[in-house]
């Protein structure tokens, strides 16, 4: 994570855009670190407005809300870095929760006439596998069958949600705490317990974030992800396995969504088929607010986490000071538009710079004349 951050910083120093040239370093600093400054501003404003906002306990509670979106956003970042989009994460989250719920209620093995109660770690593992399978399906559709990512994941959005509804008949699994007699207790540990005072959900987010940051900055796969999103044709000719990379990012996004589903249903100790509706949009918003380019190739885990916190802390802050949920929607939307606006200012500045000094529009036509 730290490496990717310094990368952005050094890039920023290299790029003295004409617009914010030489003496206006402060403007560029604000622009580069906008998610961070936005978060600080949100904390200051709400702390002033409400006496309950600025407390460690409130931050931890808000963070455990952020954990859900943060997990989705990390998977989404991987996908967006390759230039794709994953609309199915909200549905995968719901399906994962429902699968976990079904397993906690017991699996009926018809032939043997017994009901199986798998231990919690098995439930967690199988649920992640479900998420991975749907993600892999997305990836295969997109990479191998060349279905546009938007359409493929829109399809799985419906399919996954539909399966979740079918499995539960539209109802919700309550009471996921298990039974000591059956040896499957502990599911609510994920959502309720704390380690050193920190909610487990937040710790899960931190661990996933660190793993993802390592993956992106320190492994060949991470380099493949950035290269695929930056220029898939050039990456392909350089020997990058573009198709494998594409399938993998959707698979990882599916796993992240399944983990988010586990944390959410554990926090609620119930699993409903309508959970996580429109969460995919919040995840995309977090990635964009975090400075990633939807066209691919640019973005960091650190930025995405900041984006998730900006959106989460803003939403919870509005609740705490008692603003109506309708206004919350308006504010969230405004923040997203502002973020995208700043993104295009930042990246178009770069493009202009590179157009000016680096690659002149070829004086030669693209075909021999």
């Amino acid at each position: 994570m730290s490496k990717s951050q310094t990368m952005t910083d050094s890039e920023g120093k290299e790029h003295k855009t004409p617009m914010f040239g030489g003496d206006f370093d402060i403007v560029r600093l604000l622009l580069e670190g906008r998610a961070f400054f936005a978060l600080i501003a949100i904390i200051i404003v709400f702390s002033a407005l409400s006496p309950f906002y600025f407390s460690l306990n409130n931050f931890l509670i808000m963070s455990s809300h952020v954990a859900i979106f943060g997990l989705l956003a990390i998977g989404m970042l991987l996908v967006i870095l390759t230039g794709g989009i994953d609309l199915s994460v909200g549905s995968i989250l719901a399906l994962a929760g429902v699968c976990a719920g079904a397993m906690m209620q017991g699996l009926t093995a018809e032939a043997a006439g017994v009901i199986l109660y798998p231990p919690v770690w098995v439930v967690v593992l199988l649920t992640c596998l479900v998420g991975a399978a749907i993600g892999a399906l997305n990836g295969v559709l997109i990479a191998i069958f060349r279905v546009p990512a938007f359409v493929a994941t829109l399809g799985t959005l419906y399919v996954a949600r539909g399966i979740a509804l079918l499995m539960t008949n539209g109802l919700t699994y309550n009471n996921l705490s298990g039974d000591p007699a059956l040896g499957n207790t502990g599911f609510d540990w994920l959502g309720f317990n704390r380690l050193f005072g920190v909610p487990i959900g937040v710790i899960v987010l931190a661990v996933v974030a660190i793993l993802a940051a390592l993956l992106l900055t320190r492994t060949p796969f991470g380099r493949w992800v950035y290269a695929t999103g930056g220029n898939a044709r050039a990456a392909d000719l350089s020997g990058v396995p573009v198709k494998f990379t594409t399938v993998m990012v959707y698979t990882l996004s599916g796993i992240c969504a399944a983990i988010a589903g586990l944390v959410l249903s554990s926090q609620l100790t119930s699993a409903g088929p309508t959970a996580g509706t429109t969460y995919e949009l919040t995840a995309i918003a977090a990635v964009v607010v975090g400075g990633a380019a939807l066209s691919g190739g640019r973005g960091t885990i650190g930025g995405t986490l900041l984006g998730a916190f900006v959106i989460g802390f803003l939403a919870d802050g509005l609740v705490i000071i008692g603003v109506s949920t309708y206004w919350q929607t308006v504010f969230t939307g405004a923040v997203i538009v502002a973020a995208v606006l700043l993104n295009s200012v930042q990246y178009s500045g770069r493009r202009r710079r590179s157009a000016g000094s680096g690659t002149p529009p070829s004086p030669k036509p693209s075909k021999p004349s």
Partner: protein, 510 residues
Amino acid sequence: MSIAAAHQDDSGEVVLAARNIAKSFGSVHALKGVNFKIHRGQVTTLFGENGAGKSTLMKILSGVLAPSSGDITLDGAPIEFSDTIEAREHGISIIHQELSLAPNLSVRDNVFMGRELTTRTGSVDYAEEARQTQLLMEELEEDIDPLTPVEELRLGQQQIVEIARALSINSRILIMDEPTSALSAAEVEVLFKVIRDLKARGVSIVYISHHLEEALQITDHAVVLRDGVMTAYARREDIDLEWIVRNMVGENFDLGSPPEAQFGDVALSIDSVSVPDASGVDLVRDLSLEVRSGEIVCIYGLMGAGRTELLEAVAGRLNLTGGRVVLDGEDISHLGIAERIRRGLVLIPEDRQRDGLVQTMSVGQNLSLASIGAFTRALFTSPKLENEVIDESIDRVHIKTSGGSAPIGSLSGGNQQKVVIGKMMATHPKVVLLDEPSRGIDIGAKAEVFKLLAERASGGVGVIYSTSEVGECLSVAHRIVVMRRGRIAAEFGPDVTKAQIMAASGEAID
């Protein structure tokens, strides 16, 4: 005889005159003060190699580009075009070399795109548009239904549509940039007939073509450009093919000479390879070629000769319909790009922006992209080892940069090209394929690129590079192979002349 003098005492009414036109793209000077005249009812043909500035000049005359300096007079009055629409209103239209049709629309809709005919109620008058399109098609002797979607036409017919669109505007000046590159011989005859009709109606034509012989048939005035400067002007009756070729290629800029080398074994063997296009027509037909280690082979050919397709197929990007590719005695035809790179066969693509560089990455990350495995230990990449690879590459191909972390956009075109070359060289290849390695870089950088190739070859690497500039054949290559319509038309040693190469390519038939 002075060129300017020749231009001055020329007879005939001048419709348009361009004076001291210069155009720069960043540090690249595409045009350096060109004077150019167009005469009423006559054909002025522009000759010149790739990058001589022909297309740039035409884009300025038709309002696509604005000149950096210089002025244009139309009918004796100075004029400035802010865009193509304004130029069109003054009666100047252009048939672009790259087709600018909307493939999803019909022939009729394309012909009238942007200036739709309307009925009195303001709706589009489709019937009238279709009728006029039909008339144009009849004039061009082409049996195309106006309602056919353009994407269903073959390339030559699409070019006819492009021509029909320009004709429908009733221009006074019609610029044709390589209008015949996709036409059959019969279609070219029809086009020439149309051009003669237009001349008779007083329309002035500016014509650009690589097919010199063909162009001479309709030329009234010949203008030769070289490196952004007008080097020669003459009336048709005073010149012949030899005059054009001599003025086009000019004196040699020294791009190096073939390195003295002992060739090793055959490094790469291309064995009866055929490569199809999207519709299954072979662009490369049953072609065989060998390169030994330490040898530099140049492939020369016109646009559409199949050079790019051949190199991309050998590198593994395109599929073969027949034949095989053998590297170091092993058949690698079934392997993917990554595996071919691992075994020592790399391609440096023609279009470095589209296929060569990842613009979102730094110089260093671009340089190390093809050799990530070399600095990966267990699961993780080592920044220290990566920096060694990067610094070595910057040093090896002499990239002028502030360092590996500089953004790729901060480099000049020539240095960007060196990054693409350096990236593939970092994989320690045995055979290097380069598709037009000198495209879009200035002459100094060209010489450096060829020097690099010579250095690599001396180190035992087999090199194949393609070019469409005849001057570049006669640089570092030990052997020059001329491709024409997907086949090898001729093979020469380094002592061949430019005229011989051009004759073999079909450019100048004698």
